[in-house]
Homo-oligomer: 228 residues x 4
């Protein structure tokens, strides 16, 4: 059930210029086009200010890049989980390497997502950390070795042992969680390698957001996934 | 010149339920109504996800509650200054007591706002801290003793020396900056007291956002201000 | 093997006045006396500046309250793991509720302790978080519900399900780790309750440090432990 | 008065291997030798665990590298100002670029140092930030452009405008504070340049700590200072 709600390609727009405002909207439409053409479930994680406009403009699921471990109240400048849901997000990234959280916060935010019916995508920087988060029962775990993030060296090819190690350690404590593989993914081949190593899908950022044609890159990814 | 761009009532929506999503939009419309009826310059600081919808719906200026000290790039889960500008904000709160920043970040964010033409509203928790921020030349300084935030005990009445002390210390190093007074402001009387002590306007949150009728409270504030 | 190196009573001096400087030294001597008289393995976690003097003055094992995830280098104001070892500590608390760490830091610090031969005592605020840390293979896990810390309401009596839940969830992923129970422990009875629920020992702070006679309280604890 | 208590050479040991434990003690003795031979007032900022042993072993003043904005209480893993004083420190670095603090913390820690009679040495990363801290009346301000820290490119030679700008902006708001210049200082010539630009002394780290002969480097510095 949960799995049906989880994307097999999740695009993190980060705070790239190409992933902000109008450019974010165009990127979202390109992704929607690929998703409709191929039937591959694709999610988008734009910046907070872009969630509402993008959620109104496209039919594919939107994720926040981060939410805070708070309830409604006096928390100026923080991200209320309820606010991203009302804005149209169906889930959120948690603990991305560029926005690390305390373990107690990760636990508390996963509980929040459960209460609110949001999909929790927790990021881990290595197999051990990923397995530790698996104990907390998120919907999705995304493994991304930080040293490969933003490079064009695919985790699934350069460090296959990180993917297989994550799958093995995570499965020991959690048989249901969806596992995404990220960092350096730029071609359909990288995607195919990730799937062969046991990943259920991919988390991607610069490889799509900063591509000359995000449409073509995503189509390559989606066709690879559709063939599996 | 700058002063014309700075509001004399700035409403911080925080992450209150009454200041989120649809309720935030209604609140913004009530504020716009008061502003149009009285001619008092009013700014609104809703949550990040609500900036775009509110900026489209109302004609009064919108502020972010926080931006990060970053440029476009790989900063998942952070707030890109450019993104809030493109979403329709004309300025931002900086260093609110509920979102404190390092001194180096405050300095760097003020520089960012200058580059982007955003209005910088820096918050201080006491006269000394406020005077220290004045050296960095923000557009607006808002003094809020944290122990009175969220109470119904107005800073301008319970701690007049905090307001006068801030005005005195800030003016020593900066004669131009607009000074707002906040914390516990709930009535026109509190506003009048703030102005008498040398403040140029007020920063308000729960006193408006959680009021039975935000319209009536803001009208009371604005009429007091218009009378000065 | 590792178990032999882990204390069954670990006294956290925090930054209490009664646990600083000369008073810390007296406290350490009282603890050593109890340990020698009863044969119960007792560890002490004084403040950083007090590690060297206390390690020289007493024969029982000393722990740091925190170390940073760093190697020798340019990290002004941080705590180098190597420095606490050279000063005489044999281990360290990690992720105490009053000094929470990111999950990636917890993982990295545990690896550091392994390299340096230090004993890693990771704190968790609830059973789920404790079980997540168990995946990372520390030597000791200390469960402390933060709402009971500093009270005189013993975790082992007021929230037995927290202790049993921790033991159950931790044991699912890690059969070796030593489990300590903390928060609100002030009497031998509280200690006995903790052991009955499956804990291997206790983590204690104000119950000892702020007691009229730390010696008597520790003796009560140690005799209870020795009877098991 | 205050000036007499402030060193003209302050050596930050950071967390370098060469500045830890036994090596820290040797370094401290070399510095003491230079200070006694030249009469130049020299301060040392070793790691927290090394404060007590070094303060006992040498007669020159010892500083902490960081203290927290806390009073005695339940703050596991934090640095109690009272604890470094009792251990033998006479002052502390505050807000070093490698340990940045919120503006409210800087203010609160300076107040703490005043209460306890400790010397407050606040670090700034540029002239504007340094001038902002000057409003808070610390005893000493140390300017260090972070991009030069740890290099062998002296701030006083490569960026003279940073030193003169700091002196100018700081003096506008504070005529008493002692100004140190840091980052990249490795020779007596660098020291002389700093003094010519208006600095009262220097803050140094790797240039001394990682030198083949810290004694010779410090002697070169001190003789330059003594000649002024």
């Amino acid at each position: 059930m949960i799995k049906v709600r989880t994307p097999t390609i999740l695009v993190n727009f980060k705070t790239y210029a190409e992933g902000t405002g109008k450019q974010a909207l165009e990127l979202a439409k390109a992704a929607e086009k690929v998703s409709l053409e191929t039937g591959v479930y694709m999610g988008l994680a734009p910046q907070l200010v872009d969630i509402a406009p993008i959620a109104h403009a496209v039919s594919i699921p939107i994720f926040a890049q981060h939410i805070d471990s708070i309830s409604p109240g006096a928390y100026t400048g923080h991200v209320l989980p309820e606010s991203v849901k009302e804005a149209g997000a169906i889930g959120t990234l948690i603990n991305h390497s560029e926005r690390r959280l305390t373990l107690a916060e990760i636990d508390s935010i996963i509980s929040k997502t459960r209460e609110l019916g949001l999909v929790a995508v927790v990021c881990g920087n290595n197999p051990e950390v990923s397995a530790a988060t698996a104990v907390l029962n998120p919907d999705v775990i995304a493994i991304e070795p930080p040293e490969l993030i933003g490079t064009r060296i695919a985790c699934s090819k350069a460090k296959p042992e990180v993917v297989t190690g994550t799958v093995r350690l995570v499965r020991r404590v959690n048989s249901d969680v969806v596992i995404l593989c990220g960092a350096g993914i730029t071609t359909g081949d990288d995607v195919a390698a990730a799937l062969r190593l046991g990943a259920d899908g991919i988390l991607v950022a610069s490889g799509v957001v900063k591509a000359k044609s995000p449409y073509k890159v995503l189509l390559d990814f989606a066709e690879t996934l559709a063939r599996q």
